[in-house]
């Protein structure tokens, strides 16, 4: 059962879940291994484009601007289903949804929505976002000395940086100043992109380093409020991190059942060795635990329960640990075959480990998590 559909959610959500399942079966399943060879093979450009056609880039975009107007919980429904087959496209959807959450938080804070209209491809193509690093981990680019909206600097690990037209970028006025978010046109002549980076996982979700020099940009929301928007985005997108990880785990578990049924060693189907069952049990328990906590976080968000943010962050951080462990077992159950690219398990392990890094380094997320609780207690 889908974690996010455990209670009677709207038909629209069910429909999106079905759509995502159908989409990934049709567009991602076949040639999954070949797609995973990027940047040494072609990018999944068809799937990236078609995801726009079916509206996946507009799920958490306000309806006023052509989106579906749903919250991040809805994006999570889609990401979970897609990640079961191939999490790379989920990575691209994630980058876009995270950028939209920054815009949303800014719009809510500043009461100003003009920024949406500046994005010509809004809702139809992905927006780039540095989704693996929190601004605490990167050196935000700097505003030029004249204080205008022209800036320079370099941001590494930029997801979708080479396929998107726009990026949401953290910027500082001066060293030590609070940062703000800006919208950058990635086609501007001041923007230089590195060759696509080779990464551990999510190969179909390209990552580049971006250098920016004398590039005009638009302020998102209010000056100096970046940390506020980041936090709001991180809370909501934590659901999506957990959903991606859950989808990957489910895919791994499903294939592990199949393989251990088919493979014989020591005179029996390996699923009949108690040790193998123990590993399957651990995987199933890990997936169930991730599903339960994600489901709870989504319900709390929908019901507006006080403190839903903590549950969401706990879901993401906990699912990271569970998914890396479970997908490693998923490889192990395939023996030597699990280590090869002829089977999907090693990709799932790499994808899970990479997705675990979404929204910033895990120890720092833990430090910030408890800092917030302590802050609220005071």
């Amino acid at each position: 059962m889908n974690a996010i559909n455990t209670d009677a959610l709207s038909a629209e959500r069910q429909a999106f879940a079905e759509l995502a399942k159908d989409f990934s079966a049709k567009k991602l399943f076949e040639n999954r291994e070949e797609h995973d060879r990027y940047p040494f093979a072609e990018l999944i450009t068809d799937a990236i484009r078609d995801a726009g056609v079916v509206g996946f880039y507009g799920v958490n975009l306000p309806a006023d601007f052509g989106g579906v107007g749903m919250n991040a919980g809805m994006v999570a429904v889609i990401l979970e289903k897609i990640s079961e087959i191939d999490a790379s496209l989920a990575g691209i959807l994630f980058s876009n949804a995270a950028a939209l959450e920054i815009l949303k938080a800014a719009a809510e804070s500043a009461g100003e929505t003009g920024i949406y209209t500046a994005i010509k491809t809004l809702g139809t193509a992905p927006i780039a976002f540095p989704m693996y690093d929190s601004p605490d981990e990167i050196n935000p680019v700097m505003l030029s000395k004249d204080g205008g909206t022209i800036f320079f600097g370099k941001i590494c690990n930029f997801a979708c940086g080479n396929i998107a037209d726009y990026a949401v970028v953290p910027v500082r006025k001066k060293e030590g100043h609070p940062y703000s978010y800006y919208l950058v046109d990635l086609n501007d002549k001041g923007v230089t992109k590195s060759a696509p980076l080779v990464t551990l996982g999510l190969h179909g979700c390209p990552m580049v380093d971006i250098s920016i020099e004398k590039t005009p940009a638009l302020l998102i929301g209010k000056e100096g409020e970046g940390a506020l928007y980041f936090r709001a985005m991180q809370d909501r997108m934590s659901l999506c991190v957990a959903a991606m990880l859950l989808g990957i785990m489910k895919g791994s578990l499903k294939d592990a059942f199949q393989y251990t049924n088919d493979r014989y060693q020591g005179g029996r189907q390996i699923i009949d060795w108690p040790l193998v069952r123990m590993m399957l049990a651990n995987m199933a328990l890990d997936a169930k635990a991730a599903e339960a906590i994600l489901s709870m976080a989504c319900q709390e968000l929908d019901a507006g329960v006080h403190g839903w943010e903590q549950t969401a962050q706990a879901a993401a951080i906990h699912a990271a640990e569970l998914a890396v462990r479970a997908t490693a077992d998923g490889v192990q159950l395939f023996g030597g075959n699990g280590y090869t690219k002829d089977y999907p398990q090693e990709k799932r392990l790499r994808d899970a480990r990479q997705a675990a890094n979404l929204l910033g380094m895990i120890p720092l997320r833990k430090v910030n998590y408890i800092a917030r609780i302590i802050e609220e207690m005071a």
């Binding site: 060879r37 040494f40 540095p130 693996y132 690093d133 605490d136 981990e137 990167i138 050196n139 590494c156 690990n157 030590g176 980076l197 080779v198 990464t199 551990l200 996982g201 990552m207 014989y264 060693q265 020591g266 005179g267 029996r268 060795w273 108690p274 040790l275 193998v276 590993m279 890396v324 490693a328 490889v331 192990q332 023996g335 030597g336 699990g338 280590y339 090869t340 690219k341 002829d342 090693e346 392990l349 790499r350 480990r353 990479q354 890094n357 910033g360 380094m361 895990i362 120890p363 720092l364 833990k366 430090v367």
Partner: protein
């Protein structure tokens, strides 16, 4: 008498209880039972490993890894030649075969060293010694001398001939490596006795370094109704008619070291290249029986090669740790150097601990091998000193004796017929213990490195993600960690419990 004053008899009786000294204190025992100059080879090996890392491996590690991703057909022949220039493929072969003669205690820290810069390139050297360790337990001195001397000669000529370990088949992985499960193996390869040798048909898979190697130490079953009791081993050189390479695997990590298919198509292997055959009267009619002997040969192989696997894992754990430490010294997080965050210091402490715990475990296993396992003969003090003192030419003169039946008979007496099961269990049990401990600790370290390096940790050019991909193999090959857990139970726990049954 004061309670702490213990009579000799009482002391012996207390020490004969489990855990026994000879089972779990072999590192300590080595202090007085092996030659006091043993450590010198260890230090030399570590130093050579470090120099080789600095000058050869480190500058190319990431580049070769990336090349292998880009072009699946790429094979690092140039690296193999370089390692041969350094004499690495004969460095640990005993002097009596013309090798460098560094002792086998030293091989494991050396493996750790070269794996700490690139497990894939390091594995090319390491797996060659796994092949050596597969042939050596056959104790067929004729074949051993032929192969080892050829390895030394070819290396000197700049055309290195490496060894492989050849066991796994498509339908038979775990059960072809585990003596208690051999009988159920669905291995489909066939060997048929013909005049002057054997005809072999079949396919072996996942053979590390296959395409880069020359001598393939291949293991089969002669009689499908009694597999362990009919085990047979050949040394198959490249160019043997009917022998060829198939493809090599497209895999997750350790990319520089290919995992090859070996194809045998009516391949004729002459009698002179049979290194061991369970159905020979020497084994078949032996007091302990052919199955015991074959189980012992398998354990000699795995005890030593799994300790190597553990050393490689330690190298990867160290690479992860050193990479994270360097990173933490430069990276700023929330305005502070990462290394000055207390939580980062704790993560680095855990990583350092894991590396050193890991090394302690595999060195204990090496000590067990030196006293009770595959290397025990070479560590008997007079033999050790004799080999150290005598010049290489002296052993060259002795080659005819080394290749004689008498030499094989003597070695087999020592390693099989008079070899106690307790020693086999200690060596094999520790091999498994360190194999699964060190690989698990390596996985923990590569995860911690990525945790600490965040978005940079998942980039190929920052190394940590390579450690993550490389280490996973360590939990799988040389039998999966789960099967090693079972073997440890069999050797070190169950062996003292008469009612215990295995693989139920």
């Amino acid at each position: 008498m004061k309670p702490y004053r213990i009579s000799k008899k009482e002391k012996l009786s207390l020490l004969s209880n489990r855990p026994r000294i000879e089972e779990v204190y072999n590192g300590l025992e080595c202090q007085h039972r092996i030659a006091s100059n043993t450590h010198k080879d260890v230090e030399t090996a570590i130093a050579i490993g470090r120099k080789f890392n600095n000058e050869v491996i480190r500058p190319i590690a990431l580049e070769i890894d990336r090349k292998c991703m880009e072009d699946h057909n790429y094979l690092p022949h140039e690296f193999v030649r370089k390692a041969a220039d350094w004499g690495l493929f004969s460095l640990f072969l005993p002097k009596m075969f013309g090798g460098g003669g560094l002792n086998f205690y030293a091989i494991y820290p050396f493996m750790e060293e070269i794996s700490s810069s690139c497990a894939g390139l390091g594995h090319i050297v390491n797996v060659h010694y796994c092949g050596v360790a597969t042939l050596f337990p056959s104790m067929n001195m004729n074949v051993i001398t032929t192969v080892f001397r050829d390895v030394v000669k070819s290396e000197r000529q700049g055309k290195p001939r490496l060894c492989t370990i050849v066991v796994t088949e498509p339908e038979s992985g775990t059960d072809s490596q585990e003596p208690l499960l051999n009988q159920y193996s669905k291995a489909t390869s066939n060997v048929k006795r013909v005049k002057g040798g054997y005809i072999v048909n079949g396919k072996k898979i996942f053979i590390s370094s296959g395409h880069l190697s020359y001598w393939h130490i291949a293991n089969f079953f002669e009689d499908k109704s009694d597999k362990l009791g009919s085990w047979i081993q050949f040394a198959v050189p490249n160019g043997t008619k009917g022998f060829s390479f198939g493809t090599h695997e497209n895999k997750m990590g350790q990319l520089a070291c290919c995992a090859s298919e070996l194809l045998f198509d009516d391949c004729f292997i002459p009698n002179k290249l049979i290194s061991a055959r369970a159905l020979d009267p020497e084994f078949k009619d032996s007091e302990k029986g052919p199955r015991w002997v074959c189980h012992t040969i398998v354990d000699h192989v795995t005890g030593s090669s799994r300790t190597g696997t553990a050393a490689i894992s330690t190298g990867i754990a160290r690479n992860a740790y050193e990479t994270a430490l360097e990173y933490a010294r430069k990276k700023r997080v929330a305005g502070e150097l990462l290394i000055n965050h207390q939580w980062a210091q704790i993560i680095l402490s855990d990583m350092y601990r894991n590396v050193n715990m890991s090394r302690t475990v595999y060195m204990e296993s090496a000590a067990t091998l030196a006293l009770r396992g595959l290397f025990k003969l070479l560590f008997i003090k007079p033999i050790h000193h004799f080999i150290k003192i005598m010049p290489r030419w002296y052993f060259t003169l002795l080659t005819p004796i080394m290749k004689s039946r008498l030499a094989t008979w003597a070695m087999r007496q020592f390693y099989f017929h008079r070899y106690p099961t307790e020693e086999r269990n200690a060596a094999s049990g520790w091999g498994s213990a360190c194999k699964y401990t060190c690989s698990d600790l390596g996985v923990i370290n590569s995860n911690l490195a990525i945790d600490l390096m965040g978005g940079d940790g998942i980039r190929h050019d920052h190394m940590a993600e390579k450690c993550f991909r490389d280490i996973k193999l360590q939990q799988i090959y040389e039998s999966t960690n789960q099967v090693n857990q079972m073997n440890m139970f069999y050797c070190l726990i169950g062996s003292g419990i008469p009612e215990v049954e295995y693989f139920k």
